[in-house]
Amino acid sequence: MGQIVFRRLRAGLAALLWTMALVGGLYALDRSLWGERPIAGWQLVSSLDDAAKHVGPIHAPALLPQRFAWPPKQIWVNAETQGWWLEVAARDGVPVLLISGQLASPPAMKAMTGCLRGDCPPEWRSRSRLGQNGKRVFVLVRGTELELERILRGLGH
C-alpha cells in the first residue's frame, strides 16, 4: 500500500516537473522568436491596467449612474492602432455604455460603429469630446441625455 502511494507521488511529481519544463520551454521559444511584439488586431484584456500596458492610459468615467456595473464587462484594445473600447453593462448584464478611443471598432462592436457618427440604434445616444491629450473620446449610452452629459464630463484625462 505504502509503495503504491510512494510510486503514485513520484509519478505525480515527475508529471508536474515535466509540465513545468514544457511550459518554460514553450514560453522561452515563443518569446525568443517573436519577442514582446504587439499582437495584431483587437484583443480582449482583463483589466484597465492590462489595457494601459498596450495603449496607454484609458479614459475611465469618474462617476456612473447606480444601475451601471463597474468595472467594464469587456475591454478591447488594439496595440497597433492604439485603439480601445470599454463595454459597461447594467447590473442585469445588458450593455448600456460604450466608451471608445477611436472610430474603428473590434468585430464584436461592429453593430455600434454607426452610432459613433450619430446613427444610433433606438434608446442609444452618442457624443464625443477631445481629451486633454488631444485625442477624441466617444461615449455611447443607452440612457438619458443627462446621463450622457454627466459621463462625458466626468471622463478622466
Binding site: 508536474l16 514544457l22 514560453y27 515563443d30 499582437i39 495584431a40 484584456v45
Partner: protein, 319 residues
Amino acid sequence: MIVFSTLLFQGLVAALWLAGLRFTIRPMAPLTWMLLLLVVIVLPPICVFLSFVGILPVPETWALLRISLWQDAAYSLGWFFAIPFGVLLLGTTGIFVAQELLPTLLSSDRLARKLREVDARLDESLARINVLAEGKGVGKRIAHLKIYRLNSQQPLAALHGLMRPVVLVSDGLLRRLKNDAELDAVVAHEAAHLIAGGNRTFVLVWIFRSVQAFNPLTLVAWRSLILARELAADQLAVEITGQPLDLASALLQRYGSNGDKSDFSFIARTRREITRRAQVSTTRLRVGELLGQGHRALPVPVSLLLAVLLLGGILLWVR
C-alpha cells in the same frame, strides 16, 4: 481560422506533453496510457471552446504560445509553407474520411444484422468471469452483461452496443479456441472493455477526435488510443483471470489465418491484406506484452485528475 490554428497548436502541445510524460514515467500501465491519450484527444476542443466563449479568459499578453504571431510567420513563408502544409492537413482529413467516417457510415452495424443465439458454453464462461471479477472488486460493472454466439465463420469477438452492450463471440472463433481457458480469456478481454469505459466512452472520444480530423497529431493519438484500448483490456483481463498465456494463445488462434478468401476483387483483396498486416503487427505486440507480464516492473499509476489539470492548465495558455 484562428479556431483552426488554435486546435492545431493545442493538439501539438498536448502530443508533446504526452510524449514527454511517457518518457518521464516508466513503465506506464496500458490503462494509464489509454486514459492519457483520451485526455489528449478530448481536452483541446474543450479548451478552445472555453477560450473562445470567454468562460476562462486568458489575456493574450500572458499566452504561452501566441498563435497569431506563429500564424503570421507561417503566412510570410508563402506557398513554400502553404502547399506542403495544406497537403498534410487534407491528407489527414482524407484518411479520417476514408478509413473511419465512411466505413462507419456504410457498414452501419454489420454485427447487429448477423444472427445471434444464446449459447450455454458462452454463458458458463461469462459466469466464471463474473465470479473472478467479483473477487477483484470490478464485478458490478459487468454484472448485467449478456453474451451471445454470432452466426459467422470469421473469428470475431466484440463488445457490441452502446446503451446495453453485449459480448458477441462468433462460431468461427469458438471453433478455433482450444479450450475453455482460452474462451474465458477472450470473454474477460471483452468484458474488460466495458470496465475500461465501454463503447459509449469510445464513441464520445471519437466525436472529439472527428472535430480535429485535420490534425495529424490527433490521428496519431487516435491510432495509439485504439491500440492502448486493446492493451488496457488485455491487462484488465489478465488481472481478472490471472492467466496471460491463455489470452496470448487465444489471440494467436484468432488472427492465425487470413480468414475468408472468397472475395477476389482487387480493392477487397488489398484492403483485406492491409487489415491483416495491421492485425498481425498489433497481435505481435499484444502477445509480446502478455508474455512479458510476469517479469516486468510494476507500472506506475498516474492520477487522471492531475493529468487533466496539468494539460488543461497548459492548453488554456496556448492561444
